[in-house]
């Protein structure tokens, strides 16, 4: 009997084709910059563009800052809610979902209105101020993903007993969080970090309206003015994403069996 196995493969094949064919088409198109043969010229053109390097580094730095700030806010919050304020969890869930409901365009208008040059805290007056503002915006955009990643990580360990075990040995809450809780949910924190990275790298609205030289703005710019380079860029971002995912998988495998429960 050909049976279930065969049909499972058919469905899998169709699904894979649905995702892979456009990618393959984009890839082939990106290599057709020269009329007669397939070359990587579009990629060379992208990589050698000085604006690619500068905007990418800018967004990379923003992403790293957003990850650090995001973890520093979300980890203690999620930890204490799980430990002491279980009843607050639905409220937390709701608050962290807000960035998905409120469009970024509204967020950034709110930012500009609150922190413009005539406000009490005129962040938009200086480049550094605007950079701080944009990082805060990124932290907000990534909040739903960061919170869920960390909360899922916390669910895989016995937060209360581990905390009590550390406390009775004399540890204060900060030490407990840094030395006991954080290392045991490191992989979860990493996946939150990766999602933040993906969001920041592709983000357009905030950067554009705050007028910062971010990668998303550059991509949009290239897309509007060139033919082959946008496809090359799309393939590059895919490679980045998949690379990051691969790294997480590797870390997950080689990290000490942290999440394994007794």
């Amino acid at each position: 009997m050909i049976g279930r196995r065969f049909w499972a493969w058919v469905v899998f094949g169709l699904g894979a084709a649905y995702f892979l064919l456009p990618l393959l088409a984009t890839f082939i198109f990106s290599m057709q910059m020269r009329r007669d043969r397939l070359t990587f010229d579009a990629y060379l053109s992208v990589f050698s563009d000085e604006r690619f390097q500068s905007t990418f580094s800018y967004s990379l730095v923003c992403a790293v800052c957003a990850i650090i700030v995001g973890v520093a806010i979300v980890l203690p919050a999620a930890y204490f809610v799980r430990l002491r304020l279980q009843w607050l969890r639905p409220v937390m869930e709701f608050i962290t979902l807000l960035p998905l409901i409120v469009p970024p365009i509204i967020l950034v208008f709110g930012h500009i209105k609150l922190f413009n040059s005539s406000s009490i805290l005129p962040l938009t007056n200086s480049t550094l101020g605007t950079d701080v503002l944009i990082v805060c915006g990124y932290v907000t955009l990534a909040l739903p993903y960061m919170y869920r990643a960390i909360d899922t990580g916390l669910r895989t360990i016995d937060v209360q007993t581990l905390t009590e075990a550390a406390t009775i040995l004399g540890a204060d809450p900060i030490r407990t969080m840094v030395q006991v809780i954080f290392p045991n949910i490191f992989v979860a924190v990493l996946s939150g970090a990766f999602l933040t990275f993906a969001i920041v790298i592709g983000e357009f609205v905030l950067a554009s309206l705050l007028n910062r030289p971010a990668f998303g703005v550059y991509m949009q710019n290239v897309g509007a003015n060139r033919a082959y380079e946008p496809s090359a860029l799309a393939i590059i971002s895919f490679a980045l994403t998949w690379g990051a995912m691969g790294v997480i998988q590797l870390l997950d495998r080689f990290a000490p069996k942290t999440a394994r429960q007794a």
């Binding site: 016995d158 075990a165 009775i168 040995l169 004399g170 030490r175 045991n184």
Partner: protein
Amino acid sequence: MAEEFLRIDKLVKTFGGNAVVKGVDLSFQRGEFVTLLGPSGCGKTTILRMIAGFERPTSGTISVEGKDITSLAPNQRKIGMVFQAYALFPNMNVGDNIAFGLKIASMPREQREARVEEMLKLIGLAGYGKRFPFELSGGQQQRVALARALAPSPKMLLLDEPLSALDAKIRVSLREQIREIQRELGITTVFVTHDQEEALSISDRIVVLNAGNIEQVGQPFEIYNKPTTRFVATFVGTLNTLNATVADAGAKTVRIGETTATIPALPTSAKAGETVALTMRPEAVALANGVDRDIMLEGKVAEVAFLGSVIRLKVDLGGNLVSVDTFNDQRTPPPAHGTSVRVGIAASDVLVLSA
């Protein structure tokens, strides 16, 4: 060693209007091994967690060496604790787990390493320092948890059902090991269990709890042989009950079926004709081949359980099913199911519990 170490006064804990611990007074001597014993939900863990500082008492005080610690933070109390779920830090190897408390106490590196080695030796796991918790069996993990708790030389050790996640054989050997280590270090220890055999076998004293109240405090021998309440008598060990009718309260005589017996424990308040419950341990009832006891009764063997060194029979004594323990004897096989037997009871072994 009559020196008071830990004292609990009028301890009360309520959760949302629901009283879980209802005014407990206890005093622990230095170096004593005390077990809190009671059925599930009686408040054992809650009391232990208040001693550790994880729960704040609704009222009452806890003092150590005369100092009130009721509102001291748990990380300031210098107490060692072992949890039912081991709670080893999964990201650290065995050595780092044991060293955790020492690092917090800022013990210098060399001293720390020596102490870790010493603890590993104490628990019989020398050479396991580099292993991770997930590479150890449950019993080994719990021993590491014990070493981690003891490494910083705490003033007191608390154990909350540390053996209940282990299989029977390891449970027995580990409890002996815990007791041995406790004796060696002379550390005041509070042990929580709902297993009466465990409590009887390792404690200096047992505190029997029921529904948030203390039922009885005493040495295992007292608790088992001289239970003061019906709850203790039935919760600790197996207890036989024989219904009898009071014949003459002044002469302390009762009638069990056709037999008349004198029971020294019969309270003078009993009234003639009243039904009382005579209780006794299975080992206080003997098969009457040759022995002559104060009370001799006829019955039929209803059940035979061969437990190895002990044979436990259930004998039907005119409607009362009574357990009888006898030692195994290679030359005499146990009576078969359904045979008639005579059993003898020493009147002094009989307790009378108010119904």
